[in-house]
Symmetry: C2
Subunit: 167 residues, 2 copies
Amino acid sequence: MRAAVHRAVEELLVSDPGELTLPAVATRAGVHPTTLYRRWGSVGELLADVATSRFTGDLVVPDTGSLRGDLERWAADVAADLADPDTLALLRAAVGVGESGACACIGDREEQIGSMLDREAARGNAVPTVERATDVLLGALYYRAVFTETPGTPEWARSLVDVLLPR
Amino acid sequence: MRAAVHRAVEELLVSDPGELTLPAVATRAGVHPTTLYRRWGSVGELLADVATSRFTGDLVVPDTGSLRGDLERWAADVAADLADPDTLALLRAAVGVGESGACACIGDREEQIGSMLDREAARGNAVPTVERATDVLLGALYYRAVFTETPGTPEWARSLVDVLLPR
């Protein structure tokens, strides 16, 4: 049932974003509206749930043997993900419903940065903080995707790692 | 008329964000709905117009005598602006309506970065590109405001300048 409802939300965001209501989602998913109201309460909570699923566990944390290599590959993967129009439609809609929806669009990406930094630290090397790496990488990647019309290319995404880890 | 409509949008975003429709704005602004439809066409276009006004010309570009000083003061001002709940409500709603609304939330802030960099270049000093400064400063500032629950403090905002201009 949850999968059918999530899929209905994603389809409506593409076909008819202005009509994203719980009754419309219920019709499309073939579920009684009451069930949706009971389980999610509002479109905002449902969108946050969809965003959490969508942005969690979707990227593989690279293991190239160096922090620079890991972060470069990962940043390019995030940029490619956010360049997808359907992903952006979900992201914008989730931001539109408020703080919980917006936070859900980060999923496990800060944790993924943490795990790459931890691995480098375990190799005995100095690493930036998760906060700083998040500012520089996720900040630029999400800003460019959401607030500009410039697509984030893989080359550009990799170049952000040079800002975080000057050569 | 435009000022009354903009004010009505800002008030509705605070009091009743789920009910932001052109008829509701018209009632609150004391304007006939047809006038709003004719001038703005949709809530999305109206929100983009309100966001453009709100985020353009609202910050003074500092002139402290050094690029570092200018950017530090300016970044702290942007962080303070984005920490305001009413500002965030407008920003989230504008992002929610799509690309034009989201882009409107940057207003003239990239141009402001450009003017600070140009002034430093005119003093004969090397400067980063506007693109890189935007990635690091606006990226982190907007990301933290929109996608996290952590407020951007003035100290944190100033510390971003050290990433862009290593000491």
